[in-house]
Symmetry: C2
Subunit: 428 residues, 2 copies
């Protein structure tokens, strides 16, 4: 690397362009900050536990909902031999249970101990006494739900959205079947992991004999925010993540980038008001990352570690300036994550990211199995995800530390109207 030392400090501009530039704009990235902000966090925590989101509405909850602290994500397969009527019955049952649980009630009226002693209790009980904790449950369908091995299993093949196809292979992916695909997905988010787990466990139990859990993933420490009043969280690389995420208050951006419109797909009008969800279990080589210099880390991200500001200067929310106007020399490395993913280079495409960190033990060499469970909601995966992922897989300097081992695409049903069950427009 070509480093220019200026004023006793290593210059990022030197790293990037090989030239010499003033280091003034970089000083903001240095120094010791007060590391605890307990007051704001406490107020936030207090408000969270009692949060309760409506289950019904134009869109499903759990997409623009302010990102909760914890995730339990499940992908189910419909068992062989089931018919559409069985699936409809399941979704009717799931609708009742899901609505109840999001409101802090047990999954059914009898609850954990209101039924007969000689029968299995309806509810498994571990969420008794816990507040709703902002629980949301969000349902979607994978390509295999519509047809599997060429079989139009539920007579719904012609309603498959055209864009709902298995994602293409990306360079560097090391996909594992047991972490990929699935007929149906349920994203459970809550501020208490026991509440999120309870919801998935109850849905699995109610779905017994119709569906089987294919894979599941727990997550914590959300890696983006949808509510601009939420502080930008840090991912396991130690950087702020999700700075430029679509905010829940940005109706124009949501309409353009997230919600499927009525005329987007004439064969799948049932999806209007829904979205597409990309789920990718991305292992991070955090030990390798940690051995890099701050300079290298920041060059790969394109932002400073301290404030999250673009390397071109300013604050976290400043727009990045990729090149020096006069010299056309780059101010932010061309292979940085910030530049490669930026909407300016993808026809303006943006995603609503909603991912979580995970840490699932370690391997025999002592390396943590940790990373990012990437979740992104987009109106069109062909324009809003696949080209970005291709660019990242090919060029992104950060990519050397990332390995995707699980991958799935789902069509997320629109909101559930009064008196309706989940995905009624698709299933009936």
């Amino acid at each position: 690397m070509d480093l220019a030392r200026i004023g006793g400090r290593w210059s990022r501009r030197g790293l990037i362009s090989g030239g010499v530039a003033a280091a003034g704009g970089l000083a903001a990235g240095v120094g010791v900050a007060g590391l605890s902000g307990p007051v704001a966090s406490e107020a936030l925590a207090a408000a969270r536990a009692g949060r309760r989101y409506p289950f019904r509405g134009q869109h499903q909850a759990g997409i623009v909902t302010p990102v909760q602290d914890r995730l339990f994500f499940a992908a189910f397969d419909v068992e062989a031999g089931q018919r559409r009527a069985d699936v409809v019955r399941l979704f009717r049952t799931w609708t009742t249970a899901a609505e109840r649980m999001t409101q802090g009630l047990p999954a059914t009226e009898n609850g954990a101990y209101g039924g007969r002693f000689d029968q299995a209790p309806d509810d498994t009980g571990e969420a008794i006494g816990l507040p709703p904790s902002g629980l949301t449950l969000t349902f979607g369908f994978g390509p295999s739900f519509f047809s599997k091995d060429g079989d139009d299993r539920f007579g719904l093949a012609r309603r498959r959205p055209e864009l709902l196809r298995p994602l293409p292979p990306f360079q560097g992916d090391e996909l594992e079947r047991r972490r990929s695909g699935g007929d149906i997905c349920v994203q459970a988010c809550a501020d208490d992991p026991q509440v999120a787990l309870h919801a998935i466990r109850m849905l699995a139990r109610l779905g017994d004999e119709v569906v089987r859990l294919r894979w599941s993933q727990s997550g914590f420490g959300r890696t983006s925010r949808t509510d601009r009043s939420q502080p930008t969280p840090r991912n396991l690389f130690g950087f702020k993540d999700g700075t430029a995420n679509i905010g829940s208050d940005d109706a124009a951006a949501l309409k353009r980038h997230v919600w499927v419109a009525r005329d987007d797909d004439p064969d799948a009008r049932w999806l209007a008001g829904g979205s597409y969800l990309v789920a990718r279990r991305t292992s991070m080589d955090i030990e390798g990352w940690d051995h890099q210099s701050l300079l290298e880390q920041e060059a790969q991200v394109g932002r400073t570690k301290k404030t999250g500001a673009p390397l071109s200067g300013g604050t976290e929310m400043s727009a990045p300036q990729f090149e020096d106007a006069a010299s056309s020399s780059p101010l932010i490395p061309r292979n940085s994550h910030l530049r490669l993913m930026h909407p300016d280079f993808h026809g303006g495409a943006r995603m609503l990211r909603r991912g979580y960190s995970f840490a699932d033990g370690n391997d025999v060499r002592g390396k943590l199995d940790a990373g990012l469970f990437f979740l992104a909601y987009v109106r069109n995966p062909d324009t809003h995800f696949i080209p970005l992922q291709r660019a990242m897989a090919r060029h992104d300097a950060m990519g050397q530390w990332l390995t995707v081992r699980g991958s799935a695409l789902f069509a997320i049903a629109p909101g559930v109207g009064d008196g309706e069950f989940i995905a009624q427009a698709l299933l009936s």
Copy 2:
């Protein structure tokens, strides 16, 4: 099962004794309760985020400390070829880092971005901006630390506490090497999982080349409480767990059952003020459990699901009455967990339990890999743990749903005094 139906209700006494008894005492276990108590929980959550516990003291923090919400537990092995001086150096480094992190500071003074740009940052950064979240770090030593394959690796073999031996095999155990044993353990507890993970990650990083992570386990939804003002949490069987746990305010019980006294082991006086920690990763067949009737579940636990009261009646905190005084017939099943583990049948032995639930994905049949990461602090494993575990393995009706796949015993160092490093009395 012999069930006696009384007054339209199944009688537990009927189940237990085969006889007929009044069902009055059972009515307390039935009915629908208000399921959300958000007000109390919110106040609790608010208080939590800013909590900060002193690192130094007579005993290590993280034992009687009010149980935090989240766990990240790590077992390390010392790499071959390391000497005692290397271990001492590591523990000096760990002491500084651990004390700083528990106080909400980065692991070292330079933090995540205060060092040189051309060097790897000292701190990995993902906890920047997060409050201390009640982080505690608790250190201990496994039998293999003192000698491995007959080798007195650090000249400390003669200081091995006599009671620090590998636990004997228990009926039904299906131990996996990659989840068992370890030279050194670190228990990280915090109310934010990212704070707990960050601490373990930093210790692993600071220990690079001296120790290697052997296994790790994350946990949530504590399954006991040490502070009597904490509500008794529910485990993944949906039952209140830890009702009879030793409270942090019960100095007499702590002295008798938890803290190693100066004269307990003349060869290991360094352990005075410390304890023994039993760690057991216990998989729970929650799907099988859930298919049982409420009657069967409560008979196996020995308590009601709703209130946690013993089946002999009263409230959660009532002392169980195991037999009817007049008839000597059992009021609580003889093979219930409550009876088999009760101090009355183990010479008064009690543990300080501090376990957590876990949910680590699912197997190919769709069953969740979920359960209890059992953690218990005892003064003497030979009297306070092994006989109880034997009784449970042989007779406990609940045991059919439990499989232990990971197991370890550690000697937990006493508290760290001013100017001392962790386990200084052992290592120097």
